[in-house]
């Protein structure tokens, strides 16, 4: 099927992109990798008058170090995130989660910033970004602001990115030496996550010192499993399983074809235990 007609601009700088956004106003739509937007347009679920393509802005793509952070450009593709040595060293769970997004062709075009800004609760990248305590760099005409991941996802398909702003980078505190694991549950491999759990764990000898858990598709936004995290501190052996059993506390997961709410809650508990065990190297 064919999208409704639109105008297209491909600015080559963030400034030009912001200007194009301002000019388009409510009628504009930002195109990052386009791997969710194109199906939306093709099925005519949305019909923007103007599409603003960020793919020609060179400095939105790539990964670099900034002291105790790594900075990932919003237009860095999933494939690049999955293979980047800095991310693998300092934010391994994000690399693993990126390697599970959709399929190879999608990962060649889809971008980290696009996925986060699309804010599909079934998307795989919100949970690791939350678990890593990342900050999202949002740029507007007035300059940059940094939004903690916990404040970024505001609702289903909604984020803290305001009118006339762009998500331009993701700043991730280095989690060097922490273990990371992303447990994704699907029925068939090309499916969106039914539930996913991102675990970032500091610990040794089978004992958790600190664990941070992000949940995929357990509510209208990616979530942190705070109760489980608290219970995991200092846990080992059976106590890890007991702590993981709190993973769904306070969540209201969706019910759909792929799983009723209570089943998702159950999966979150099982997957949290498995993710923590794996991240801990158990």
């Amino acid at each position: 099927m064919i999208p409704v007609a639109f105008d297209y601009v491909a600015p080559e700088s963030v400034e030009d992109a912001l200007a194009a956004l301002a000019e388009a106003g409510d009628e504009g739509k930002v195109l990052a990798g386009g791997q969710s937007l194109l199906p939306v347009l093709r099925m005519r679920l949305n019909a923007p008058e103007r599409v603003i393509d960020l793919s020609r802005i060179a400095n939105l793509r790539g990964v670099c170090e900034d002291g105790d952070h790594i900075v990932v450009g919003a237009m860095t593709t999933h494939h690049e995130v999955a293979h980047d040595p800095l991310i693998r060293d300092h934010a391994a769970v994000l690399a693993e989660a990126a390697s599970t997004v959709a399929d190879p062709q999608i990962r060649h075009r889809g971008t980290l910033g696009g996925a986060l800004a699309h804010a599909d609760p079934a998307g795989d990248l919100g949970a690791p970004v939350l678990a890593l305590d990342a900050e999202l760099v949002v740029t507007g005409m007035g300059g940059e602001r940094r939004v903690p991941a916990t404040e970024f996802f505001t609702d289903l398909f909604e984020t803290a990115v305001g009118d006339g702003e762009l998500l331009t980078a993701i700043r991730i505190p280095k989690h060097t030496g922490w273990g990371g694991a992303y447990e994704k549950f699907v029925r068939v491999s090309h499916q969106w996550s039914i539930v996913g759990v991102a675990a970032v764990v500091k610990g040794s000898g089978g004992t958790v010192e600190q664990a941070k858990i992000g949940l995929t598709n357990m509510g209208s936004t990616p979530l942190r499993a705070s109760a489980a995290e608290a219970a995991l501190a200092g846990a080992s052996g059976e106590a890890i399983a007991a702590a993981a059993a709190k993973a769904a506390d306070g969540t209201t997961p969706p019910s759909d074809l792929n799983g009723a709410s209570d089943y998702r809650a159950h999966l979150a508990r099982v997957l949290t235990r498995r993710a923590v065990d794996r991240a801990l190297g158990a």
Binding site: I2, A10, G34, P39, H79, A102, P104, Q105, R109
Partner: protein, 165 residues
């Protein structure tokens, strides 16, 4: 209309396209490259897979305007010197196709996969082809074909690098 310049299967083209034109529709309708086909509207099936600047993408999930200045390779552009690409040959020999509709996308993705991971295991091949649906073959012979072609391509790479020394 937006003017784009794109190299497809080694030939330079310059065309005015509507921005809403999908790359696959540009290939099929403007250039007559009907070897690349459309199988779905949600980017699940992978039948439309082509290479853009050397990497596999789903051409139904990309606008033609996004291909401006890029190099596109389709199923029609991989045979060289009148001979089949080793992946095409392997699909033929291993009976990795029946109706053939998914085949162009399968072959293009398989070439990308082997390019990235020349020694892929069966499991890696199966995961690397997860973005391409086939309803006829049950995948088994496709996996076999990718394994066979990987061997041939590795041999070719070795001999061409020797030749280049």
């Amino acid at each position: 209309m937006t003017r784009i310049s794109v190299k497809v299967d080694g030939v330079r083209y310059s065309d005015d396209v509507e921005p809403r034109t999908l790359l696959v529709h540009y290939l099929r309708e403007t250039l007559g490259k009907v070897g690349t086909v459309v199988g779905c509207d949600t980017s699940n099936c992978g039948a439309c897979t082509v290479h853009v600047d050397g990497r596999s993408v789903k051409s139904c999930n990309m606008l033609a305007v996004q291909a401006d200045g890029r190099e596109v390779t389709t199923i029609e552009g991989i045979a060289t010197d009148g001979g089949l690409h080793p992946m095409q040959q392997a699909f033929h020999e291993c009976h990795a196709l029946q109706c053939g509709y998914c085949t162009p996308g399968m072959i293009m993705q398989a070439i990308d996969l082997v390019g990235e991971n020349p020694d892929a295991s069966e499991e890696e091949i199966r995961e690397g082809m997860e973005g391409n649906l086939c309803r006829c073959t049950g995948y088994q012979n496709i996996v076999r074909a990718v394994q066979q072609a990987a061997g041939v391509m590795a041999g070719q790479a070795a001999s061409s690098s020797q030749a280049g020394e």
